[in-house]
Symmetry: C2
Subunit: 357 residues, 2 copies
């Protein structure tokens, strides 16, 4: 007997690296992992505080039935079109393991959410990426040429913040039998979404999360909306009780309070416009964002990694991706008005103004 | 485009069938899924009610650091020997996927927890079972002969309630490099446990849950205790944020209140003794249990499935396993004194007394 060896796939992998999280009590302006600057609806805390011990003593509903009812009503679908998960990461993993076995192909445009290759590697699935076409257009033909069992992409995309129109997703879905998973983690901050496609295209699966739009990253709750037979297959793959009783109650309350959520989204969009404009004035090239963050190319006189470090030294966390194609870019979460003002003030000191440069 | 086909493994499987759960509001005596009859410590509800919206707005600690600290203190190990999960089902799946790839072997004695073959099937892992030796003795040689990458068993075992002495587990661990996972979901109700083995045997991993001993089946929180390098491998496989902020706070509070928990365990053990004695008086053959349930062979005049159905019609749920080797047995969760009294009263009416039979 000795330390057992993890299987080769696991031994060689690095795993997904989550964004930096400050230690409890540390005071930072946190604009690096796309949390909502606003807390969840007050009704969420009320729903949690109302829970009795007996609700925790028993196993929760395996399919989160109460949540399915609320989601079906809000999205105008039927409850059997909803699958809830422990964060949308759980939902993504369930979808992958339902449709791709060892040696199968998961295809994605590149860059997109950096978790997908990690999930594929863990499942011994081949991950094939194809570059986005010009202006972040969905590379339909190249994705199909990979002959995938599943296609995943974030829409709005991360880290670009760009959005693919539903008509392009429809074109892709109509030309394949593969599962087309549209990861709508950021869709609450956009003008369009792909929910309307699921009644027409049985292979389209839309995923949502409470981590961004509902101010509940700490809750770990996400869900998929799709064809009942896709949902039924995924139900066989998920853990029996993958959502806890508290999270189910909180998610119901959050989704039910659409007016609170919409007010938060509107505020974020107003600040996104300001942040985009002010960064542009400082010489950054900012892609028009449909999410709660912006991807900004730094001015040519600036090193993106150095700027990230300098902001971090001042207690402001943003995201620098150490990847060749993203070396001159920074992803900045849209914070509260005060947080964004503090960021812009620091940038005014750290980045020479375009006139001076 | 059409309904996409789930991969063959998923298409042909049935999935794990959770125990029956009554619909909300239904009044039943629920002795079928081994929940604790007592609610969690009051400090658990206090910890939940103290949470502020901002704690939910941000991502939780990826490794549940606060919980690791409490668990390290309570179990006298170091924090890097603890991995927390979304229920011990999540922990079991993470362990399996860390040590067994497609075509590898997971071995278990039979019968044991019925989730293991489902997890193996989903991971394209071969599941090899070997019968328990007489008197539920661990079949060490037969397990090793399967040449497994991992060996899983519940201890105390489900559905038998029997326990393997730590010395036998040590013998097994000393003779293999495979991961030896001791699923201690029910250990809080037993006299011994295998925690003492982990400092000596680097391939022993012990898993625990809050679902049984801590009255928190609704919370979905479990954890593994093992060698730091085993825990580090598992950390690469788990979802980035697999435990939510509320569950982490609640689990810390529950584990910290050992005196409340021990009082519940003692009460369950007193009732287990009574249930065993009274079932024996009615002609049932009850295996001595170290868990919070008993496995009882029905008297020869009784059909186990009929009795299960008759009790269900009276609003009392117990567990009948539709498996050849368990056709004449019933698994009964130890309930509160009142619940057990109601069960025994119904049995007095439904089962002819041994004198009459």
């Amino acid at each position: 007997m000795s330390v057992p060896r993890a299987r080769a796939t696991v031994a060689r992998m690095l795993g997904y690296v989550p964004g930096e999280q400050p230690t409890p009590g540390e005071r930072v302006i946190k604009l690096n992992t796309n949390e909502n600057p606003y807390p969840p609806s007050p009704s969420v805390l009320e729903s949690i505080r109302r829970l009795e011990g007996d609700a925790l003593r028993r196993y929760p509903s395996p399919m989160a039935d109460a949540f399915r009812e609320v989601a079906a009503r809000v999205h105008n679908v039927s409850p059997d079109q909803i699958l809830a998960g422990n964060g949308s990461d759980d939902v993504l993993q369930i979808a992958l393991r339902s449709y791709c076995g060892p040696g199968d192909v998961l295809a994605s445009p590149n860059p997109t959410y950096s978790l997908y290759p990690v999930l594929a590697e863990l499942a011994d699935v081949r991950f094939i990426t194809v570059p986005w076409e010009d202006h972040w257009t969905l590379p339909v033909a190249a994705l199909l040429a990979a002959k995938p069992q599943a296609i995943f992409f974030a829409n709005p995309n991360a880290p670009s913040g760009t959005i693919v129109p539903p008509a392009d997703v429809a074109t892709l879905a109509s030309r394949t039998d593969a599962l087309v998973l549209v990861d709508e983690a950021y869709v609450d901050f956009a003008d369009t979404n792909c929910l309307g496609l699921i009644s027409q295209y049985e292979n389209v699966l839309v995923t949502r999360t409470f981590s961004k739009g509902y101010g509940l990253a700490g809750l770990r709750f996400g869900y998929a909306i799709g064809h009942p037979s896709v949902i039924a297959s995924m139900a066989k793959v998920k853990d029996s009780y993958n959502c806890d009783a508290i999270a189910i109650a909180a998610a119901c309350a959050a989704l039910d309070d659409q007016s609170y959520a919409r007010d938060c989204w509107d505020r974020v969009r107003v600040e996104r416009t300001r942040l985009t404009r002010e960064l542009g004035r400082r010489g950054f090239d900012v892609i028009t964002s449909h999410a709660n963050f912006v991807l900004a190319t730094v001015p040519s006189s600036v090193d993106a990694r150095d700027l990230y470090q300098a902001l971090k030294a001042r207690g402001i966390l943003i995201r620098f991706f150490d990847k060749p194609e993203l070396q001159d870019q920074l992803r900045i979460t849209v914070g509260s008005p005060e947080e964004n003002t503090a960021l812009l003030a620091s940038l005014a000191e750290l980045v020479p103004s375009p006139a001076e440069a």
